[in-house]
């Protein structure tokens, strides 16, 4: 299994992390050695095994339909990088 530059570029787009040629090459190298190591799993036959999603041996607990959180807009916006009291502000999407 080989991870090529094209794949690196594709994944970086999906994960919204920019890569230049140099970085992409390094990543390809790193990921390839990591994946060689991961390939070991192919030795196992898991055809009749159920996947495990959670080790928490319990069922999903319900919450009641009460409104608890009041207006905490100040807290919510406090940490935002742009200076606007009412909204989060981001650069426009190119449509």
């Amino acid at each position: 299994m080989s991870i090529d530059l094209k794949t690196i570029k594709h994944i970086s787009k999906l994960s919204r992390i920019s890569v230049d040629e140099k970085k992409a090459e390094k990543l390809a190298g790193d990921l390839n050695s990591i994946f060689n190591f991961i390939e070991k799993l192919n030795e196992l036959n898991t055809d009749n095994v159920e996947p495990l999603t959670s080790v928490a041996e319990t069922t999903l607990k319900f919450r009641s339909d009460e409104v608890k959180n009041q207006n905490i807009r100040e807290q919510i916006i406090k940490n935002s990088p742009e200076d606007n009291e009412d909204f989060f502000v981001v650069p426009k999407v190119v449509e």
Binding site: H10, K13, L14, R16, T53, S54, A56, T58, T59, L60, K61, F62, R63, S64, D65, E66, V67, K68, N69, N71, I72, R73, Q75, I76, I77, E82, N84, D86, F87, F88, V89, V90, P91, K92, V93, V94, E95
Partner: protein
């Protein structure tokens, strides 16, 4: 485009195409708080005032599920005569957008809470069954506002995390009219159940429309395009019409259709491709590790079944059987739960000797006209069911004529006045004493001898003149039926 037996087909030279439509409806769940957080879901609040730390995806925040939203989804499933899945899983749908604070939406991919079901539509050509593929719960996103700041997009997260039910139909729809009927039916069912208010202007109900075309007798499906986020029935119909023709044109030109996502431009009335990159749609679904599988028991589901009210299809049957309304009228009366309630209240208040047909006419005629004009819902009707019932009774027992009733109806609108009181105050009681009417008519005939002779000699149109005179002289209060009878006798 021709309509053959109300079929929606597109013709080009020798080829006849049919349109295959599937809908993914997003319905906001009626609940006090959001799906995975305790923030309010009220519409119209100031921006970012109904946002919790969980909604804004702060570090370390975790989802906790709202039991009521689960119940609402199951109830909707029951209303869709669908399979309820006792075990379902929440998955993360991963993508980046400014109004998606977590960078993923919590949804259900492989194991939704509701499976296959069906909805029956009343079309002019007969009943049509539309299959439901599934219904699942998911989070709504926030709102991106592009037109306040020219440089930037503003983000309001109030809507982020509100519970949505995504209802996926099978590709069974074949025309814009069927789509309209389907949306209305879904809306109606959910309003009956109280699981979604179906208010499209407020965004409670939106749909993604999947459209493809194929030659009429083909069994294979063509390539489909998805038109996203259409928020009115009218736009859905226009979008389908445009898109179907666009696709047919491409095929006729020998071109292939790209499977893509499109938007409906409401200014130009056309669909256009969303300029997003091809790889933008690898959502990398995987089960959300912050949540465990959702499990509900038979008991849980049965308790919900007990709470289900009489649904439109059953109510329609009962109206036909019990009240003897026509299927057409029944369909109109049950289409909205508030209309059905109003109607039943009118019938109840009419007491004995009720004229249901008359009541139906007044509701679907005069009342609907007023509501339409004033842009009101029937729940905001200026005339209560109680008083409308009274009015209908007054007509039925001959106290007033139908014509006078219209006048009274207008007067009733001002503060929901009791019609009986109006009749008495304005002295609008119908004159139905045969002796008095005979005397009145005798006088009219006497005063118009020439016309009377003309009528007897064959000028039948003059009958209307005499009726008109009788009405004029009596101030509109003469009983029209009696007038007719007496005139016929005397002329």
């Amino acid at each position: 485009m021709t309509k053959e037996n109300s079929e929606y087909l597109i013709e080009r030279y020798d080829n006849v195409y049919e349109v295959v439509i599937g809908l993914e409806v997003h319905a906001q769940v009626t609940s006090n708080s959001k799906l995975f957080s305790s923030s309010s879901t009220k519409f119209g609040a100031e921006p970012n005032t109904q946002v919790s730390l969980v909604d804004a995806a702060f570090p370390g925040m975790l989802p906790v599920i709202n039991e009521f939203c689960v119940k609402q989804a199951i109830k909707t499933g029951i209303g869709l005569r669908a399979q309820i899945n006792k075990r379902s899983v929440f998955d993360r749908k991963n993508y980046f957008y400014a109004d998606l604070p977590q960078g993923y939406q919590i949804s259900q991919f492989k194991y939704p809470i509701v499976g296959e079901g069906k909805v029956v539509l009343d079309m002019p050509s007969g009943q049509k069954e539309v299959g439901i593929e599934r219904l699942h719960l998911e989070q709504d996103a926030g709102k991106s506002i592009h037109d306040i700041d020219p440089q930037n997009t503003l983000v309001d997260l109030n809507r982020s995390g509100v519970a949505l039910m995504e209802i996926v139909s099978k590709p069974d729809l074949r025309s814009p009219d069927e789509v309209s009927a389907y949306i209305k039916k879904l809306r109606s069912i959910m309003r009956y159940l109280g699981t979604c208010d179906g208010n499209m202007q407020e965004g409670s109900l939106r749909a993604d429309v999947n459209v493809s075309v194929r030659l009429k007798d083909s069994k294979e499906l063509g390539t489909r395009c998805e038109i996203k986020n259409v928020n009115s029935i009218k736009f859905m119909q226009m979008a389908i019409d445009y898109e179907a023709n666009r696709q047919v044109d491409l095929i006729e030109e020998g071109k292939s259709i790209d499977q893509e996502t499109r938007l409906f431009d409401t200014k130009k009335n056309e669909t256009r491709s969303m300029r997003s990159k091809e790889d933008a749609h690898d959502y990398r679904y995987f089960p959300d590790p912050d949540l465990l599988p959702l499990e509900v028991t038979d008991e849980f589901i049965d308790n919900l079944k007990k709470d289900i009210p009489e649904l439109p299809d059953d109510k329609k049957k009962r109206f036909i059987d019990e009240f003897k309304v026509s299927p057409y009228e029944a369909t109109i009366l049950v289409s909205d739960i508030d209309t059905a309630k109003y109607f039943e209240e009118v019938v109840a208040k009419m007491g004995k000797n009720k004229d249901i047909k008359l009541a139906v006419n007044w509701i679907t005629g005069e009342l609907f006209a007023v509501l339409n004009n004033k842009n009101l819902e029937i729940s905001q009707s200026p005339i209560s069911a109680k008083n409308l019932a009274k009015l209908v009774n007054l007509i039925k027992n001959g106290t007033i004529s139908g014509k006078i009733a219209k006048t009274i109806f207008e007067l009733m609108m001002d503060g929901d006045k009791d019609p009986q009181i109006i009749v008495e105050e304005k002295g609008l009681k119908q004159e139905s004493d045969p002796k008095a009417l005979e005397a009145l008519i005798d006088k009219i005939i006497n005063d118009n001898r020439e016309k009377a002779i003309e009528y007897k000699n064959g000028k039948e149109k003059l009958f209307g003149f005499f009726v008109g005179q009788a009405m004029k002289v009596s101030g509109g209060k003469a009983n029209p039926q009696l007038i007719n009878e007496i005139l016929k006798k005397k002329l």
